[in-house]
């Protein structure tokens, strides 16, 4: 079995898992040596005054931030604060919504992904996405994983690749005898891990996760969180979550968004505070962040 992404990357082990504990201060991912510094060593995304519009409506106000390589960045905040909208502009999934438009500079390794010569297909192949509802294809488990490499014309041994991706997604042992079965036969948690396997099969650098555990039970959620921590060795992960404990458990850095209500009563999302997760959850600088993480609103 060949290594899928980076042959020299250390294999994360499952004993890194530290899920289930709900005490925020105790689950701040000590094991992965989460950063304490605001400086980001290797920048993947560089956002400069990014604004997202739906028609005339401005959903996200100027966001300036950087996303670090091989880090897990969590976007938290109340509903309607624009965190999912911002996430979907990272791989141009917002293009699919009529009237959606991004202003400002959203650079991926220094390349403005909204430049006119950029092909969204190329962007999405490098920046994968996992959705809120496990959206497996109505096909077999095998075909779900093989689909991405096939449409991207990757010349690989498909059987090996499928096994490798399912193993990385911690699903292989559960499905190895049922590869020809419909993916709909799997449980919700298994489906979400299949979606992750499907995503890494096209060898992306970044995985965007839009509330990946929102429809899962706590046990399935714990498995996905373990998986995220293991994948962070090789992939850059950005996750949107409503669950603050989840952000605290898995992420290296946390960005807190909120919605401002303007004079006409329209809500605009904005970035309030961004920094190492450990600091955001222990000594937030902004009182709104503190209110949110201590459960006083949102």
């Amino acid at each position: 079995m060949s290594e899928i992404h980076d042959p020299n990357a250390p294999q994360a082990t499952s004993d890194l898992a530290n899920t289930g504990r709900m005490d925020v201060s105790a689950v701040l991912g000590e094991e992965r040596g989460t950063p304490l510094d605001d400086a980001i060593p290797q920048v993947v995304f560089d956002l400069n005054n990014v604004r997202v519009f739906y028609g005339d409506f401005q959903a996200v106000r100027d966001v300036t931030m950087q996303i670090g390589r091989h880090e897990i960045t969590a976007f938290i905040g109340p509903s309607g604060c624009g965190k999912s909208t911002l996430l979907r502009s990272f791989n141009r999934m917002n293009d699919l919504i009529p009237g959606a438009r991004v202003e400002g500079l959203l650079a991926y390794h220094g390349y403005n992904i909204y430049a006119p010569d950029v092909d969204p297909i190329e962007v999405r192949r490098r920046i994968g996405m996992v959705f809120q509802k496990p959206n497996v294809f109505p096909k077999s488990i095998y075909e779900n994983v093989a689909y991405g490499p096939k449409v991207n014309g990757m010349k690989v041994n498909m059987d090996d690749l499928v096994e490798e991706c399912l193993t990385r997604a911690a699903l292989w042992d559960e499905v190895k005898d049922d590869l020809k079965k419909s993916a709909y036969a799997l449980s919700g948690g298994q489906q979400q891990r299949l979606v992750i396997a499907r995503c890494i099969a096209v060898k992306p650098e970044v995985i965007l996760m839009d509330e990946p555990c929102a429809s899962l039970d706590p046990i399935a959620t714990a498995k996905i969180e373990d998986l995220m921590k293991q994948l962070a060795a090789d992939y850059t992960i950005v996750i949107v979550t409503h669950n603050m404990q989840q952000a605290a458990r898995v992420s290296d850095r946390t960005a807190f968004f909120t919605a401002d209500v303007d004079a006409e009563g329209v809500r605009h999302g904005r970035l309030v505070e961004y920094g190492p997760t450990r600091r955001i959850f222990t000594s937030p600088k902004d009182p709104r962040t503190e209110d949110y993480i201590s459960g006083r609103f949102g």
Binding site: F131, N135, P138
Partner: protein, 299 residues
Amino acid sequence: MTATLTPPANPEAVDLRGHGQPVVDKAFRWVLFLCLFVGIAFLAILLAYVTIKGWPRLDSRLWTNMPSIRRPEQAGAESAIFGTLWVIGFTALFALPIGFMSAIYLEEYAKPTSRFARFVEVNIQNLAAVPSIVYGILGLAIFARALALGQTVITAGLTLALLVLPVIIVATREALRAVPQNIRHGSLALGATQWQTTWHQTMPAAIPGMATGTILALSRAIGEAAPLLLLGAVTFISFNPTGPFSAYTTLPIQIYNWTRESREEFQVLASATIVLLLVILLAMNAVAILIRNKTQKRW
């Protein structure tokens, strides 16, 4: 604010007996049932009438013999059955690809807000309501005369294809629309192109719905007589079509022809052929329902 929502102070005062209008309610129920009954009853009477009348001729002569004017006891509808198959075959050949592609364009590619898409959408609905005789006139003018295809199987196939095209487009669009958006997004997020997404994900997921709509559209075409009368389907023909440029007749035309004969034997023959046509239509609709039930929504 809360004062108005306090529960009744005295629980004994609660009265749960109904105080509706049971007579009106019952009467309405009967009116509804009667309306349903009228429709069903007429259909049942029609079916019983043609079956009883055509019973003496409902045997293998009907589908193994050619029509005959002199000997009604030997006459059959073989040429009409094969004519119907040929015509419907060509109808499907022309209507399916064009219908599917048009629907895919409208549903997957066109911007829903564009003026063109809305204009086309309204007009497709209108086209579906155009009387079939108008399509017959159009087919006669364009296919039979202008393109000089004459009174042939291919002219009939092309004309009926135009007739069922709006129905197929509407049914296919509905089937495509029923495929959840997140399947498309899942595919696009993997770097698939829009065509790959449509071809590998959306279309396969929509095929049951497309098949159902298509079968129902084609069964409508099978029952059509009016446009084919204009297009010159031959009313008496004693050979099966041999190709796209062959003369032909179809079951509805054959029935029409026999009902015009004065001899009682032909009336019986017409009834038997009606039963045959109904059986074919019911079988097609049954297949459509079977497909629909077999592939229940999986999402």
